[in-house]
Symmetry: C2
Subunit: 256 residues, 2 copies
């Protein structure tokens, strides 16, 4: 019952005055009773296919340290992946990496519509509302989506530790890359392990690009975020990176 009343979205530190708005679309691996466990085992429901382990702890610690709001999901990405539009096969995937998702096989149009209305629309409406309110008040919020990825994908290990992904406007992503390389020892790469071409920038494309907002998607390798202490430490490493990247971009062009 608690699941049902929580709604599709939680805003943390909604009134915070910092320059960023953090988003965590794959925050949790909750399977509300309305949709059930999709026929998955407990071990599958805890695996990275069901959520981005560690991403919420990191996003929340960034939100605290940078005094900026956090908009986060309440439901597993396997029920609806909020970083995908309704027509995408991967919005409600029948297969994810090595796992079949029985509860997503042969979904009817009515079931797809139900999840879209219950999860996708309210999540993005709430985020839109927060961004538009800040714009009306004369602020220019900066959208940062926070994700984690698995160290081994389809059996192959991944070396990249911090992926920095952009949509149409690469300005902030490039600045974050420069600062991450200058300030940290993380193996930091642009548009790895995914890029916009993999359809992973839907939230940026939907929420930031049409409003002309600076934006970036951060992807952390999830073995670097095993517990709350590690997530907080990573936030302490990345918060100054984001601040310096922002300052770098906002610095007026020098007149020669």
């Amino acid at each position: 019952m608690e699941d049902e009343t929580e709604g599709a979205v939680v805003l943390e530190r909604r009134a915070a005055k910092g320059p960023f708005v953090f988003v965590c679309e794959h925050a949790v691996n909750a399977f509300p009773a309305r949709w059930g466990d999709l026929g998955l085992t407990a071990s599958q429901r805890h695996a990275h296919v069901a959520w981005d382990p560690g991403a919420l702890g990191l996003a929340r610690a960034l939100s605290v340290q940078l005094e900026s709001p956090l908009v986060r999901a309440t439901t597993s990405r396997l029920i609806y992946d909020l970083n995908r539009p309704p027509q995408s096969a991967s919005a409600m995937p029948a297969r994810s990496e090595l796992h079949d998702i029985p509860g997503n096989a042969d979904l009817s149009a009515k079931e797809r519509l139900d999840r879209t209305q219950a999860l996708y629309l309210p999540f993005h409406a709430e985020l839109r509302m927060l961004l538009a309110e800040k714009l009306a008040l004369g602020q220019r919020p900066i959208l940062v989506t926070v994700h984690s990825f698995t160290p081994v994908y389809y059996g192959r290990p991944r070396d990249v530790e911090l992926g920095i992904i952009h949509d149409a406007d690469p300005a902030l992503a490039c600045a974050v890359l420069e600062e991450a390389r200058a300030q940290t020892r993380l193996d930091s790469r642009l548009n790895e392990p995914y890029s916009a071409a993999d359809e992973v920038t839907h939230t940026l494309a939907l929420q930031a690009t049409p409003l002309g907002l600076m934006n970036v998607m951060l992807e952390l390798r999830n073995d670097l975020l095993p517990d709350a202490a590690a997530q907080k430490a990573m936030a302490s490493l990345l918060a100054p990176v984001l601040q310096a990247a922002l300052a770098r971009i906002q610095k007026p062009l020098e007149v020669v």
Copy 2:
């Protein structure tokens, strides 16, 4: 009181099954009591700065003839121009063409926020909902925004009769131009009298581009839409243009 309860948006023929979704952001010149008449004279409130005369009649007739939904505004564009984001000076303009808008001079942040929350957010949330529902059901709605422009602007007469304007994806606009030239005698031009560079494609950029939907903005010179009969006749001219343009795009590429 009627104004207050009507809400920010009206959906006509919501359940219609045709391929288009028509949008009319500048449908009416209503000034609800909540915001008053902005200090304008009756003649200013009837001029094109307050709305797009004839656009609603045309959009509604297209919606009927093509059996497709229409999403339309309920309030003058001078209170909030729904085709502009909240941070745009022209969303709540202090001056429009030759007219000062006293009620928009020195708006406070709180007043801008109030209009954004009352008009912009619900209008675009309702449109998003309609589009996302169709996508979840496996349809690919085509977004067509319907506008009218004044024959004389800053004292200069305009020759163009039908302006066809695109956002990032020009495919449908180019097909509509070809068909308008083939099927009608209208002086039809691409990206006139405005283009995306004039910030007039916000609705397309916000609602169609991020979801990969085909889209076009139609601008009719308003002296061609003086009354219901003329608006209906123009719809009868343009409905086959839109249908043929759509067929032209959807036709599979021929193998040579």
